[in-house]
Amino acid sequence: MNKLLQFRRLRMVMAEELRLLAADRSFWVVSLIFLLLIAYALSNGLHQATLRAGAQSAIVHDDAQRRAGQLDKLQRIMAGKEVPGPFDNPADPTHMGGGYGAHHAILPPAPLAAVALGQDDLFPSQYKVTYESRISFIGNNDIENPWNLLSGHFDLSFVLVYLLPFLIFALGYNLLSAERESGTLRLLMSQPLALWTLLLGKIATRAAVLLSLAVLVPVATLMLARPAALSGGGTLVYWAATVAVYALFWFALVLAVNACGKSSATNAMVLIIAWVTLVLVLPSLLNLAVGAAVPSPSRAELATRTRVLTAEAMARNNKLLSTDYAHVGKPGVLVPKDGSIQMAGRLRGMFLIEREIDQKIAPELARFDLQQERRQALVARYSFLSPAAVAAEAMSALAGTGQRRHAWFMRQVGDYHAAWKQFFFSRIDAGRAVTVADFSRIPQFDWQEEEGSTVGRDATWALVQLFAPCLLLLGFALWRLRRYRVV
């Protein structure tokens, strides 16, 4: 009998809470503000995502055009209709393999990219891959004002991770304390109504309202503005679940704080401090700690080492570097004959230097990569301390702008780099010219999207990391509610 009656009473409480909320002006203000923030964040996200997609397609188009132009030029050279220049000869593998012929390896945006814009400086999405060492092309990223990088983006992920908790606080900080302070709690508790039922009803109503704003509005907007987002399949569902569980964490915190039975003012203060700690302070402290525990090797040292290697390599190839260009006065030298091409001594020398540097610096770069991996692993292990960090990374991962997808991209870039080098080194070493037929065999960067199961697995793990503290807080709340002083 009790269970059934409580369920009916639960419905009553929920219905009444909805009515009470609707009559409360501050509730409408809070909801409106939230809606505006979500709307702006989404529109900004869509705008930026469109810009980025546009910039990427411009790059792809540009690469294709250049390649077509180079093919054209080569055909004319082979037909004798044009004389190649000394530094832009499509038949010369040292040119085609370098900056002249290089294409970009591109990380295309994921369907949900508008939701979490990520940071392009942390995880750039295009690299111009040449046969030179990785150092030369890794640093050269898109142009952005460092002040803006410092500020961050105003996207949906920001609103949900940073601002949603505040709205939850605004609606819930005085859940029980207000009733107690105004005297209505003892009126309620003198009825056959369990305290737990009352609390659950109040939370459920507020959660329903906020979650429908936080989840349904973006999903509906995305469906209309970016139908491709639905093709992501499970990712949208995972995203909705992440937002829901993250919100649930903050509701659980509100519940736990209310259950302690302090005044409304104290509750508010405790919640604010919790937010500052979990969202602002802990993640940056964690950042510092990880940086201190696994420091990055010195970049200045890397620069020095690169220079030293360059100097040594140059000294070793001095003779080649001293050879003068033969094409001046003899342009025919630059045209391939019987599939072979005479590469200028200097260019050959510079190519050999580059290759030597690339090989010798590789272990240093590997050291950087290893440290970076270890750092990221530490972050993954300890970010459970801050649900905000977990939620932010999870949303980035689902939007395709997270660390894991980028690491996968870097691996593919490495493979592409190796294939590129292999293609051109074999020709340079043999003195073979690039032929028209070769053009179709030049390695292309073919992006392989991540496995759905990987995405799903990480998303599920994030959900677990968010849900566990929820359960702890709920348990704590239940325990404290037993001792709750109604008067």
């Binding site: 004389v83 640093g139 105003f154 601002l163 993640p283 040292e301 020095t304 570097l321 342009p331 972050v379």
Partner: protein
């Protein structure tokens, strides 16, 4: 009377524990951030010094080679980490501090520290500056939100007013109390920070560092002062403490959390920057046009380094080419960087209503870690690069060209390398920083004026009960 009010207010804040707890937490965070910042900065500076001297030593030690190749290997310029970076690292984590001075290319920074960062980087760095900018106002709000509203609720305000105490005295008294609490909390940390930065500063720049520290302190004092009066004003205008703290928290979130991002997006839209592709295209097109004109005029052909330019003219050709490109680079890169500075200026002006943006700009400027200082460094690096190039080109014209068809067989040695001075960069003086900070200082003062006027009006017109 004002001091009486101030003293009692201070005592109450101490007794109810707020000063101890809230202030204590902030102090702990500040000291942690300072300690870590100091360590980082010392390490970075030592690294830079070693790298810079090793760089020049290696340059001098070069064996005999063609000067053009020496210029190709180039030198590196390492940006000295400002002493005050331990308080406010500014944009340093987002921009590199190593520039490769290489022939034929405008020098750009090499590595961005963000490359080595983890995904937590998006949450920012915990620095003393960040704590003061973001958590400082929150501290002020927590200490002062119920200054008027609480007394009104308890009926005390009514009694005080009935004694004939003027509201102006109450406002000043409470402002002094709030200011003194902040001073009591922050002064020890400030003294420590001052000592740390002066110790960390390079010899000969100690006075300069002290002056910059003074500018920094002024900026933060203005910033927190704005929030002191804002808090008192809202407390006076609000009917209950609950309303007061809700409004103040909303204002704080707007200022500290939302505004930087929204204003960055707004600035981006107002002064857009090109994509790298677009920028490169424009730069290349301009370079080509310039080069074509030049080569046509001097060698009668637009084909660069082709058959019509004999090897004994390559030195001259290189010299011409470089000189022409300087203007082009300045135009394009200068334009890009000017756009960035305009973006920042817009946000500084918004500081009148959103003081965090103004104080952030001022703080970075005073610390020497803003884009203006970085640009000063890269400009100096670029000037040095051009110096290297000019000396090398001159040498080539004098010695390589006369060799006829053996341009690259010419090799030079230490006698040439010595003629190129070491890269000796000194960051600009405090006066320069002060001059550049006029916008943010003005905005902060204006904001302080607005906040004070608001508090004055609210306190005079408030209900006693």
């Amino acid at each position: 009377m004002i001091l009486l009010i101030a003293r009692r207010d201070l005592l109450e804040r101490w007794r109810d524990g707020r000063l101890l707890w809230a202030g204590g937490m902030i102090l702990v965070l500040l000291l942690t951030a300072l300690a870590i910042g100091y360590e980082h900065r010392q390490q970075a500076r030592a690294e830079q010094r070693a790298a810079q001297s090793a760089d020049y030593a290696d340059w001098l030690k070069q064996g005999r080679r063609h000067p053009h190749d020496a210029a190709h290997q180039g030198m590196h310029a390492f940006k000295p980490e400002a002493a005050l970076a331990l308080i406010d690292p500014g944009i340093n984590p987002y921009i590199g501090s190593t520039v490769w001075l290489q022939a034929h290319r405008q020098s750009e920074v090499m590595f961005r520290p963000a490359q080595d960062a983890t995904s937590l980087q998006r949450f920012g760095e915990l620095s003393a500056g960040w704590i003061l900018q973001v958590l400082g106002p929150l501290l002020v709000i927590v200490l002062g939100f119920n200054a008027f509203a609480g007394e009104r609720e308890q009926g005390i305000l009514r009694q005080a007013v009935s004694l004939g105490i003027p509201t102006r005295a109450m406002l000043w008294g409470k402002a002094i109390a709030l200011g003194t609490s902040l001073l009591a909390l922050l002064a020890p940390a400030a003294l420590l920070a001052c000592a740390a930065t002066v110790l960390a500063a390079d010899a000969g720049t100690r006075l300069d560092t002290l002056l910059r520290f003074g500018l920094l302190a002024l900026g933060y004092a203005l910033y927190l002062g704005i929030f002191v009066f804002l808090t008192l004003g809202v407390s006076a205008a609000a009917s209950t403490s609950r309303v007061a703290i809700t409004v103040l928290l909303a204002l704080w979130i707007g200022n500290a959390v939302i505004a930087p991002r929204v204003m960055a997006e707004l600035a981006r839209r107002t002064y857009p920057t090109p994509t790298r592709l677009a920028f490169n295209h424009a730069l290349d097109a301009d370079l080509k046009a310039t080069s074509d004109r030049l080569w046509m005029a001097n060698f009668g052909t637009t084909e660069r380094w082709g058959r019509d330019v004999p090897l004994d003219k390559w030195g001259k050709a290189l010299q011409l080419d470089d000189h022409a490109s300087y203007k082009v680079f300045d135009r394009h890169f200068g334009g890009l960087w000017d756009t960035w500075e305009r973006q920042q200026a817009l946000q500084e002006w918004s500081g009148v209503l959103l003081p965090m943006l103004a104080v952030r700009a001022l703080s970075m400027d005073a610390a020497g870690t803003d884009f203006g200082h970085h640009r000063n460094f890269t400009d100096a690096a670029e000037r040095h690069r051009r110096l290297i190039q000019d000396i090398v080109s001159e040498d080539l014209v004098k010695h390589a060209d006369p060799l006829g068809g053996q341009h690259f067989a010419y090799q030079s040695g230490p006698e040439l390398w010595k003629r190129i001075p070491a890269f000796n960069y000194h960051p600009p003086a405090a006066a320069w920083a002060l001059q550049r900070s006029w916008r943010s200082l003005l905005a902060l003062c204006a904001a302080l004026g607005v906040a004070f006027a608001f508090a004055w009006r609210a306190a005079s017109r408030q209900r006693a009960y």
